[in-house]
């Protein structure tokens, strides 16, 4: 254990932070509220909403990295920022491969919109007969 001070206000990262934490909190709440409002109001098509959600999430992530984690390219913080490279393979693997899977999946399983509507009366006629 290294002997550090117990008083949080004396930690350099806290002293340098200024009002960043409060701003990050308010901006985070505002972005979440915006996302919730967009989804609840069904503003736009599903695709547009998906893109809007992704964009809002990206802004929220950047806000957190900059204002909460204080990532920048100064000499003291550069290694924390460089550690974000881990994010690239994880992002590609988790989101990229999932999207690829769902893309193929939808072509195979989500065909009910047009054919289903046409097929429904025949189905009813069959059971009726």
């Amino acid at each position: 254990m290294t002997h550090t001070t117990d008083n949080a206000w004396q930690h350099p990262e806290v002293q340098l932070a200024g009002g960043g934490y409060v701003v990050a909190y308010v901006v985070g709440l505002a972005l979440m509220g915006l996302a919730l409002w967009l989804v609840r109001g069904h503003v736009g098509s599903p695709l547009d909403l998906g893109i809007a959600m992704a964009a809002i999430a990206a802004v929220a992530a950047i806000v957190q990295c900059v204002l909460l984690l204080h990532m920048n390219i100064s000499e003291t913080q550069i290694w924390h920022t460089v550690a974000l490279v881990l994010f690239i393979p994880l992002f590609i693997l988790a989101l990229g491969l999932s999207s690829w899977m769902f893309h193929g999946l939808y072509r195979r399983t989500m065909m009910m919109t047009v054919p289903h509507a046409a097929a429904a009366p025949t189905q009813a006629a069959k059971t009726g007969g």
């Binding site: 254990m1 769902f102 893309h103 999946l105 195979r108």
Partner: protein, 692 residues
């Protein structure tokens, strides 16, 4: 906003009512009586021996990484026993319920368990064995060993470490509570979608499963952060990355996985909670939801979790084999890269858990290839172990027996894993007991490594070696039980038997299921020998006293301090000169040196806050399960208040003056079986000198 629940609900008790207590089920009543008697005996014993003060001061409020590790292991052992009883019930039910003429008992048409109960048992078995047995056992071992191997005084965040422990304990307690209050999930340990959604599981079982899972997930994420920070920041001077002991490398890789994937699990379960509590549609069919989203998110965590539990097991094998081959580990760099490689590949294989669920052929092909690629770093490890043993002076003491047997299970589990990795083949064996037998081989590899590790490091933690004669009986009976259960299970898998059958329709499968019951009986017998081994070891602990280096040929840093390890770990922070520091010092004849002077030691102070946080989390989760909103509000408010109050507590550490260190060191050295030395220390913790 809250989703409507059918059935009675009251503001005071939520959905809880007397009818939810299963007092008409003789099995559960018997279990309850057994558990109550055990509790009475334990409470009586602690009172009789006057241990309440010790229990509170030295264990429940401790932030000592070794004691937290031991408590993790105790939770793991209790839950291992519970999960094993579930296994016994599944084996006996399947053997009894064969064919239409098989008799039924206890209101069951066939066998003695209704499908409703059988579903809960296999769900509980999986959940418990993965999350509340294997994970706590391994996290406990990492907790004890990592700071010792890198020459640290404690974890980077001792307080957070205790919080992780008590969150895991709260999760385990919630699973246990579901036995006697309400019921458990019947939707499989991984949540069969959409069965775990509210319309199909309107009871509290899935809620129990979900919140217990969630608590353990948060605890493990925090523990992962802690271990990573410890390894990166707390190494002794001279301990460069190239000198890091191999088990610590394995822990580093494992916790990279836990840090990056357990949050996914938390989110997955949180979305399920939203579905079940406020009526969102993340995982429903239609209304914008998607069933496959759950499978995808769950296994993004679920497969890396498998490597999270297997990497520390590999690490333990890598420590045991060189010691008992009397040679340094062959291919250190290859071993390190293989561990990190397994951690890396683990992020890209999850889809093989649902090859059969309509993914495009190219997607399946990609995941087949990544899955097979896991074999490359694993193969590197196996060859390194083999070359370590090659021309070594092999000693087959108990830890080595467990470690070498683990390699056999790696072979069987790995080869059957390669068979499953082919998507085409997976279409044949998906959901069959072949898959069950395969992953049990891998989990048994972990169990064997854990037993090897426990036998290996027990003298370091408790100061005496485990007895070998009963230990070998336990080893051979456990191995015989494994063979007798799982060889017939592989055969049944080839014959097409599917998983989770509460009734077996084909009488020709009967003899194989009977053989599995014989196997499980051998397992029960082996457990008797385990108890005998522990008892005899404890009784003869004076004769089995271990020195610094219990096995004479150990190599890494943890063998340079006393056995049992004093609460401050090392009297003087060691200077590291070589990869195998202990072996290096023996070779250069400097292993017996005593420090010229001692320095003050800075230690974290005990705190009861983590224990309260665990208890309040249990209350919060219990309130959520039964929808007792006042309990949820009270517990949430109390948790927040406690965290805020604790942040104003500046008295979180203390210093042991150098002269006290010197006095304790002299007492330990000069009176090997001596009295407790730390009784008069300010807030001192007895150094486990008396064994227990």
């Amino acid at each position: 906003m809250l989703v409507h629940i059918d059935g009675p609900w009251s503001p005071l008790l939520g959905r809880l009512a007397l009818s939810e207590i299963p007092y008409t089920n003789p099995i559960l009543v018997g279990t309850f009586i057994f558990a109550s008697l055990l509790a009475v005996v334990l409470v009586g014993l602690v009172s009789y021996l006057g241990l309440w003060r010790t229990l509170w001061r030295d264990w429940l409020t401790s932030v000592d990484h070794k004691k937290i590790g031991i408590m993790y292991i105790l939770i793991g052992l209790v839950m291992l026993f519970r999960g094993f009883i579930d296994a016994v019930m599944m084996r006996t039910q399947q053997a009894l319920a064969v064919g239409p003429h098989s008799p039924g008992y206890l209101n069951s048409l066939h066998g003695y368990l209704t499908p409703y109960h059988f579903g809960q048992i296999y769900t509980a078995h999986g959940t418990i064995m993965i999350l509340f047995a294997a994970t706590p056992l391994l996290v406990g071992i990492m907790n004890i060993l990592v700071p010792l191997q890198i020459g640290a005084r404690d974890m980077a965040y001792p307080y957070l470490n205790a919080v992780s422990l008590w969150l895991t304990a709260a999760g385990a307690a919630l699973v246990m509570a579901s036995l006697f209050v309400g019921n458990f999930a019947h939707a499989g340990w991984f949540g069969i979608v959409p069965v775990m959604e509210l319309p199909y599981s309107p009871g509290v079982g899935v809620d129990y499963w979900m919140w217990a899972f969630q608590l353990s997930s948060i605890g493990t994420t925090l523990g992962g952060i802690n271990l990573l920070a410890t390894i990166v920041k707390m190494r002794a001077p001279g301990m460069t990355w190239g000198r890091l002991p191999i088990f610590t490398w394995a822990s580093l890789s494992a916790n990279l996985i836990s840090l990056t994937t357990f949050p996914v699990l938390s989110v997955t379960l949180a979305l399920l909670a939203l579905d079940r509590y406020v009526g969102t549609h993340f995982y429903t069919a239609g209304l914008g939801g998607n069933l496959m989203l759950y499978n995808d998110l769950f296994w993004i965590w679920g497969h890396p979790e498998v490597y999270f539990v297997i990497l520390p097991a590999f690490g333990m094998i890598s420590e045991i084999i060189p010691t008992f081959s009397e040679k340094p580990l062959f291919g250190y760099l290859g071993m390190v890269l293989a561990s990190l490689g397994i951690a890396g590949v683990s992020w890209g294989v999850w889809l093989h858990h649902f090859f059969t669920m309509a993914a495009a052929p190219a997607v399946n092909a990609f995941f087949s290839i990544t899955t097979m690629a896991v074999g490359i770093p694993t193969g590197v490890k196996v060859f390194n172990w083999a070359f370590t043993m090659f021309r070594g002076r092999l000693r087959f003491e108990l830890p080595m027996m467990w470690a070498v047997a683990a390699l056999f299970f790696l072979l069987v589990g790995g080869l059957t894993g390669m068979m499953n990795a082919f998507a085409t083949n997976d279409y044949m064996v998906h959901n069959s007991v072949f898959v069950v037998a395969h992953f049990h081989m891998m989990l048994l590899l972990i169990v064997y490594a854990i037993f090897g590790g426990v036998n290996y490091w027990f003298p370091k933690v408790f100061g005496f070696r485990l007895e070998q004669r009963f230990g070998k009986w336990f080893f051979w009976l456990f191995t015989a039980g494994t063979a007798t259960v799982f060889i017939p299970m592989f055969a049944l898998g080839f014959m097409g038997m599917t998983r989770r059958l509460d009734y077996v329709p084909f009488p020709q499968w009967g003899p194989f299921l009977d053989a599995e019951v014989v196997g499980i009986a051998i397992y029960v017998l082996s457990a008797v020998f385990l108890v005998a081994q522990l008892y005899v070891s404890f009784r003869d602990r004076a004769a089995n006293r271990a020195g610094l280096d219990a096995w004479e040929t150990s190599r890494s840093l943890e063998w340079m301090t006393h056995s049992p390890v004093p609460f401050y770990n090392f009297a003087v922070t060691p200077q590291v000169h070589a990869r195998d520091e202990r072996a290096w010092r023996v070779e250069h004849g400097v292993d017996g040196l005593r420090p010229e002077r001692y320095e003050d030691i800075h230690m974290p102070r005990n705190t009861a806050v983590p224990l309260w946080l665990g208890a309040l989390s249990f209350g919060l989760a219990f309130g959520l399960v039964w929808r007792i909103w006042w309990l949820v509000e009270v517990c949430s408010a109390a948790i927040l208040a406690l965290i805020v109050i604790r942040s104003f507590d500046h008295d979180t550490d203390y210093t042991i003056p150098a002269k006290d260190v010197e006095r304790m060191e002299r007492a330990i050295r000069d009176v090997p079986s001596g009295r407790r030395v730390s009784g008069d220390l300010p807030d001192g913790v007895p150094a486990l000198r008396e064994g227990l």
